[in-house]
Symmetry: C2
Subunit: 390 residues, 2 copies
């Protein structure tokens, strides 16, 4: 026996994702497998599509999970829409906007990047200007920038896109079911997400949806989609009545997603968004009471909270302390924010009073150990806030 038992530690996952998995979803993962063409599985596929439409708030026919992680969702969205030479407007105010541009380049598209300081939202007027001064017919925007904790307001950008007959593609990896997102009402043409954030499902699936305008664009391409695996027209055929074999669906992950979506729908989206906001607000109260600052000056995302690392404190030591002493994972900064922020996810079931109070207490303990003079008690401030709100 060279390899011992699989025995992972019992973490509280308050990083930028994955989040903890709901016990019902974990149990679904260990249900016996059926074949990917089994009548039972086909019924399940229909349920997953129906549930996903409800969670994306869309009537789109094309609405299913891509068999890969959130980044496969990003690539699938872009690769189906972009053809060589296409100009594509991309909001670039964080790590994931940069990635979109990189994928557009690999499709031989021409990204027109609207740069904004990391931690600030993209200005819709700049999108309008870029649309006016280019031939772009696609605008790509990250709804919740996981790298900065910014929640992008979408209405102005959606109006600008529609006015120029451009499609709006939205990355909702960190927002789906945690922040207000209404695909149809907000004028979003293509939207993708990941299973491992506010859905509390393990990573491995990327829910995606294309509306009819977007599918028309896909059907009228001059060239074949360069990725066979991510060709949405082929995948659609497998998820439609014909069940044309494309690839073997990751059965257990689909089980998990079905249960995760059911839990979301049972709570209700509006109740869920409100819960995420309330716990985020309590977290901010605590953080400010301790003499710390939230990183984004405004447009703060309720699911992914970026906190500035205070002067003189070493980021990694605090994170390691939280992990070793409290089994709490939080994230560090990426790129220009490395060492400068902590990323604290409160996603899905992890957005709870319990986690807010525990995290604030654990952070106080870690900061004191790191020699930082903590001003007031963050945990107490959060407890008071919850008390006020009832």
């Amino acid at each position: 026996m060279r390899y011992g038992e699989l025995n992972p530690p019992n973490r509280i996952l308050l990083g930028p994702g994955p989040s903890n998995v709901h016990p019902i979803v974990l149990r679904a993962m260990s249900s016996p497998l059926v074949g990917h063409l089994d009548p039972y599985f086909m019924g399940l596929m229909d349920e997953v599509m129906e549930l996903l439409r409800e969670v994306f708030m869309t009537k789109n026919k094309v609405c299913f999970p891509i068999s890969g992680t959130g980044m496969a969702g990003m690539e699938a969205a872009i690769v189906n829409l972009v053809q060589p030479g296409d100009e594509v407007i991309i909001g670039s105010n964080g790590f994931f906007g940069q990635r979109m541009a990189e994928i557009v380049r690999r499709c031989q598209g021409k990204p027109i990047e609207i740069f904004e300081e990391w931690g600030r939202a993209i200005d819709p007027e700049k999108v309008e200007e870029a649309l006016s001064s280019s031939n772009a017919n696609l605008v790509c925007i990250v709804h919740a920038e996981t790298s900065t904790g910014v929640l992008q307001p979408l209405d102005g950008i959606a109006r600008a896109a529609r006015a120029h007959d451009a499609l709006l593609l939205v990355d909702a990896v960190t927002s789906l079911s945690g922040c207000e997102l209404r695909v149809d009402d907000m004028g979003i043409d293509v939207c993708y997400s990941g299973s491992q954030k506010c859905l509390n499902c393990p990573p491995g699936l990327a829910p995606i949806t294309f509306n009819e305008r977007a599918m028309e664009r896909v059907r009228n391409r001059r060239t074949k989609v360069q990725s066979w695996y991510l060709d949405v027209s082929l995948i659609e055929q497998y998820w439609s009545e014909g069940r044309a074999y494309h690839h073997t669906a990751p059965i257990s992950m689909i089980y998990a997603l079905r249960e995760a979506l059911r839990i979301v729908v049972e709570e209700g989206l509006e109740a869920r968004w409100a819960r995420h906001k309330r716990n985020r607000d309590a977290l901010i109260r605590g953080i400010q009471e301790m003499g710390l600052e939230m990183f984004p000056p405004r447009d703060r995302c309720p699911t992914m909270n970026a906190i500035s690392v205070p002067e003189g404190v070493e980021d990694a030591i605090v994170r390691r302390f939280l992990l070793d002493r409290f089994n709490i994972e939080v994230g560090g900064g990426l790129g220009p924010l490395k060492g400068k922020i902590w990323r604290v996810g409160l996603m899905g079931i992890n957005s709870s009073e319990q986690n807010v109070i525990l995290f604030l207490g654990a952070l106080e303990r870690a900061l004191k150990t790191a020699g930082f003079r903590v001003k007031g008690s963050g945990a107490r401030a959060a407890i008071e806030a919850y008390g006020e709100w009832g």
Copy 2:
């Protein structure tokens, strides 16, 4: 409550895949999640690579699972190696060879297809001729053609490829750990598989390996790999010491694969290959005793058995009977073999005396119901064979 409990039927998966999942692997799937940058997970990644090298029988540094299904493995293998204009030789004697050609075309490569009747292996002399009369520097071959049940002998093809300084890319989706496969010793440069066949893991991961010759080709590309998600150089950086973030690994699936590989290694590859052969041989005895015929005249794969549907019997009715009465899934034919063969997988733990005898009995029952005059008892013939072999 619009959606009831997830309650899948308890199938015996004797189709072309997925196969049943080992109970230890199912249990691993429901272990608590850790983050994809957790120290525990990093240790696990190293174990998975070490185990995969053992199962692929390779010393290759690049050896990890792609975060997608077997088809993502196929696309990853091809997209990293093929550049626009490249000529690529492809053995086309079944469904999966055709797919390789399609993916090569989407990479703007030029497939040179060596066509062979479905059910027969590719002749190495034809590969040699194609190499001599083209500029191809890559040969793609399916080891176990899941659509026909043919096991492709690889030695002649490997020699031809090496003589022409071409790389040999092998699809081992249905053969890894069930048929003799020695990546290094057989002269295979790139090899990929799927988690859901002989490894008895749920679908969703595609183990892949590139040797140094192949990675040199990747590093010397004129153009970037068109898929960002499947760019092996970026994925390698995440699976190496630097742990450069690329995408969020499907944690639970990696847990499952680790346990699945451990079980393979504990049994030992040679014992495993022998077990697959023995049960395949018993199945053939039974099939022939019943007056039926195996589909491939020779080069039969021990993991995926294709049986000819006898004259006058309707394929789908028999399969439906097996599913409804016995909870046994078997596969039908694809493309030109639709309605003409049954595909019976005996993969990993599913390759057992128990399944062979049960399947033969169930098939006899189904055939009698379908009005076919079954010659002798297949189950008894298999029992006798097992008795003879001890």
